[in-house]
Subunit: 215 residues, 2 copies
DNA sequence: CCTCTTGGGGAGTGTCACTATCCAAGCATG
DNA sequence: CATGCTTGGATAGTGACACTCCCCAAGAGG
């Protein structure tokens, strides 16, 4: 298919597709003539993933490029590719290291992870971005006067630990080849985030109704 | 305290505070003279909440203004204020209603909520933004080739339902007065989101290591 | 041959969250 | 009282970002 058809089938304007091509989010089409290129189903699939990352996941173009680059990097093995891809996902601003609340938060986060046995082992000697994300959030809560203790966080961590089993089951279900599994892992990581947040808000609304609701 | 001190104690530049004052995110200070105004602890508290919403929660200035307006609206009762405030939180683009995947997703979401007994009752006859958020996310997953059934979603919903109980416990713990409770609810809703997402990524990394990790 | 379409690329657009600059009116010090 | 500094208010500008407009040269199609 040519660019116009790719645009029609994906619902993305040709101008935007050209922008993505320029930015390296989409591999160039197979050149047919000097002025025409052909795109295949793989391009369509990739384009939809890009749109999902950017529109639903709120991922920036730059981050998306990194994520996709990790996905395509043949020099990495299965697990590394997955890690690198998720690593590149956005994770907010890091906490101010000079703030004492940050140090408290870091200790609390580490204690929680130790309690759960979620060590990063000897292989992953670098702390993942998600760890910094957690520290920032805890520090901010602290600063706002909502200290959350390890006990407060434990139920969340346990619940998410169980859901992670489910997440990985989904990845294995969808992914036939290793490539597909890695892509599925990225897509599911990002696209289930709004699902989680939406369900949480609905659950809170329901619980709030139960407690405070006048009937 | 004057603007400079408010800036120093909050870590926000005077220029930015003036911007927030202009945008109505912060109530004006008590005018001392024609050229000076005084701010109190309440301003500092509000300013920190604004920063948390915007920086950590990723809320836009416009959304933050709506959230805060609901917080301050004395014409609403406790429960209404909470609902209105959370209602104003950002919830992404709505799904394309012409896409058949959206209709499928809506049916699936409704079936899930019915199964859980999370009806919105006769009072809340309008569907909350979180519902649209959920539909959009499910539709996108569908379109990308990752259909998620009601059975897939149920464990997430149940887990978040349990966590919502915990969330509301926290709100009641922190909030003394009704005003404080509503503010706590908003702050905890927004600020626990990165905590959840970070813990999920860490949990997934842990589970991935268990399954695929070379030791 | 003539018109239309295509892909490529540079430059422009709109949005958003600030931020730099200016200004008049105090306040503080000699 | 003069002088310089600070304050709050307002206007206009900045930089990042995700597109989007427009033009062009080279085919494609009749």
């Amino acid at each position: 298919m040519r660019l116009a058809e790719l645009s029609e089938r994906s619902g993305v304007s040709t101008a935007t597709i050209k922008y993505y091509l320029r930015e390296g989010l989409l591999p160039p089409g197979r050149r047919i003539t000097a002025t025409q290129a052909e795109y295949d189903e793989e391009h369509l699939r990739r384009l939809r993933l890009v749109r999902a990352l950017i529109q639903v996941g709120g991922v920036s173009v730059a981050s998306a490029r990194e994520v996709l680059a990790a996905l395509d990097d043949d020099s990495l093995d299965h697990n590394e590719r997955l890690g690198t891809a998720v690593w590149a996902l956005p994770h907010g601003r890091p906490a101010d290291p000079d703030d004492p609340a940050t140090e408290t938060a870091r200790q609390r986060a580490d204690r929680l992870l130790e309690l759960l046995g979620w060590g990063y082992g000897p292989l992953t000697d670098v702390t993942p971005p998600a760890h910094a994300m957690l520290v920032t959030a805890i520090a901010t809560l602290e600063r706002l006067g909502y200290p959350c203790t390890v006990e407060d966080l434990t139920p969340y961590a346990r619940a998410l630990g169980q859901l992670a089993v489910h997440d990985l089951d989904l990845v294995e279900r969808y992914g036939g080849t290793a490539d597909e599994q890695v892509e599925a892992a990225v897509a599911l990581t990002v696209l289930y985030e709004p699902v989680l947040l939406a369900l949480r808000r609905l659950a809170e609304a329901e619980e709030s109704r139960r407690r405070f609701g006048r009937q």
